[in-house]
Symmetry: C2
Subunit: 317 residues, 2 copies
């Protein structure tokens, strides 16, 4: 039997046919075109999977199930998407609609959870029973696994490290709160702080770059650019503080950093480790590895397939 | 069968004989006299239990096991106390020595864990599968239960909310770190900050009180004392921030506040709830109850008995 893994993003739908050993047999992507409405998105997912199955000489009947990662608040039990701003979905019965279209068992979950499960199954988290994965990109997503189970928590949305509050930071977050970690340590926030520095007249290697990206700030910092270093130091210090405090409370065995910013590799990981260790101090009685995600863009597809494999998705169809 | 629960403190050994329904049949306490050495402490525990058993017409043979809560870093698996400053113990094989003396199965754990288990079994936490208990006294202790299991975490010491770091706080903690929550929000810290205010010439109702206690500061704040209110507000805000951030990551179903300071009841709980809700903002999609501990000084004894009941303590004797 095979599994379908779908990583539904605001811009692209990525999908793969995965075997029970976690190997991607076929993968592909199409534009999401969320503005055409939810039903059109569901049909595009179906068409993409149909094509991938056909390439492998398979049909939907060969699927044990399909997992779908969705960027938003997802209630996995009911299959309802409470809110997915990038898709324009609110209280949308995603699982029921997918089951109707695909005619296979479906399970839906938050995209950060799905990526975390992917890294645990086939990536940096293999063999660890408890881990925290943090995805740093436009925002900050996270997934927490304890005793091999993804934690959805009392509120149902799992770990929301992006909205971890920094006491004395006051930048307003889209969630309505102030000082959320993603307002100081996401790629978007790093870029914003850097631009504010430029606007204040700070000099920088990147002063005349037209379309700046957070990764360039990281690279400029490595080249000794003073403004870039200051901006990055601040983001990394706050991120490390949050990771230290979570580690002091839950104590995961491993921390995985993923997302666009993690592609800067050791330029980010090394200072992050240094600050994390400093904050942990005597409490770090044994090493707490902090590593980069390994699956890159495939984490969502593989994790979604794992979700379909591991969870009981034999609901009524 | 009966259970023995022992709450070993720096000043007193409290113990009880508990039935499998969680009822204390007999309880008592003796001075710890830690300065007489570990062996003397073990013998005092034995003598206290012997007396309590005798009062009930029982002997050690009637015990299914004994649980012991210890103020320090305890490795429950090996039964080793790594460090218990108030007892002067370091790398002390507590379980092995207790088994030798009592000749019953013994399980040892950190005192905050034991109190948390007590509240879950017979106190404020009954019926909740996941909860965080925070004990505010001389220091800040905590215990985290997820899916009905106390979490000991990667480092083995469980939740150490007392050493949760506040970003911009710089007070040195006995652990060597700076800005640990217990340096700003424990009873000791509240008293210290209040005394610093008095020393700076702030006026207060309590200006001429000879032997101040943190509880008096809480009461003065309720009476409108400006310095007391300012000091308490700061402590409560930091504590609420830590609780909000833990809730955004783990999402316990319930938060229990225990320890000496919790005896101030709603004077502490009400502002704590208010700040917690403000920090959680839109993320609080359903109520997160924050309540006072119910068992008071008995939490340790009852929790230790629960430990003996629930954990596999049938090790070699």
């Amino acid at each position: 039997m095979y599994l379908a893994g779908v990583d539904l993003g605001g811009s692209y739908i990525k999908a793969g046919i995965v075997d029970s050993g976690g190997k991607i047999l076929a993968k592909g992507q199409v534009a999401t075109m969320a503005d055409q409405g939810a039903t059109a998105v569901i049909l595009r997912i179906k068409a993409l999977l149909e094509r991938l199955l056909w390439e492998q000489g398979l049909t939907f009947a060969d699927l044990q199930g399909a997992g779908v990662g969705i960027p938003g608040s997802v209630d996995t039990d009911s299959g309802l998407v409470k809110l997915a701003p990038n898709l324009g979905w609110r209280d949308y019965p995603a699982r029921a609609e997918l089951v109707k279209a695909l005619k296979v068992p479906v399970i839906v979950d938050n995209d950060a959870h799905v990526a975390t499960l992917g890294e645990k199954w086939q990536g940096a988290g293999r063999g660890f029973a408890s881990l925290l994965m943090v995805t740093i990109g436009t925002g900050i997503g996270s997934g927490l696994i304890i005793n091999n189970e993804i934690q959805r928590g009392h509120f149902g949305f799992g770990a929301e490290l992006g909205h971890y509050k920094i006491a004395h930071e006051k930048r307003r977050c889209h969630c309505g709160g102030r000082g959320c970690l993603e307002t100081v340590a996401s790629a978007t926030a790093i870029l914003r702080t850097f631009r504010e520095g430029l606007a204040c007249g700070c000099s920088s290697l990147l002063k005349d770059s037209p379309a700046l990206e957070a990764r360039q700030v990281v690279e400029a910092a490595a080249q000794g650019d003073v403004l870039a270093r200051r901006v990055l130091e601040r983001a990394v210090r706050h991120l490390a503080l949050a990771l230290a405090n979570i580690s002091l409370t839950i104590g995961p065995e491993l921390i995985i950093i993923g997302g666009g910013l993690a592609q800067a590799g050791e330029l980010i990981l090394e200072p992050l480790r240094k600050h994390l260790q400093a904050y942990l101090g005597v409490w770090q009685v044994k090493p707490l590895p902090l590593v980069a995600a390994q699956l890159g863009n495939d984490a969502g597809v593989i994790g979604a397939a794992y979700l379909a494999l591991s969870e009981n998705c034999n609901q009524d169809m």
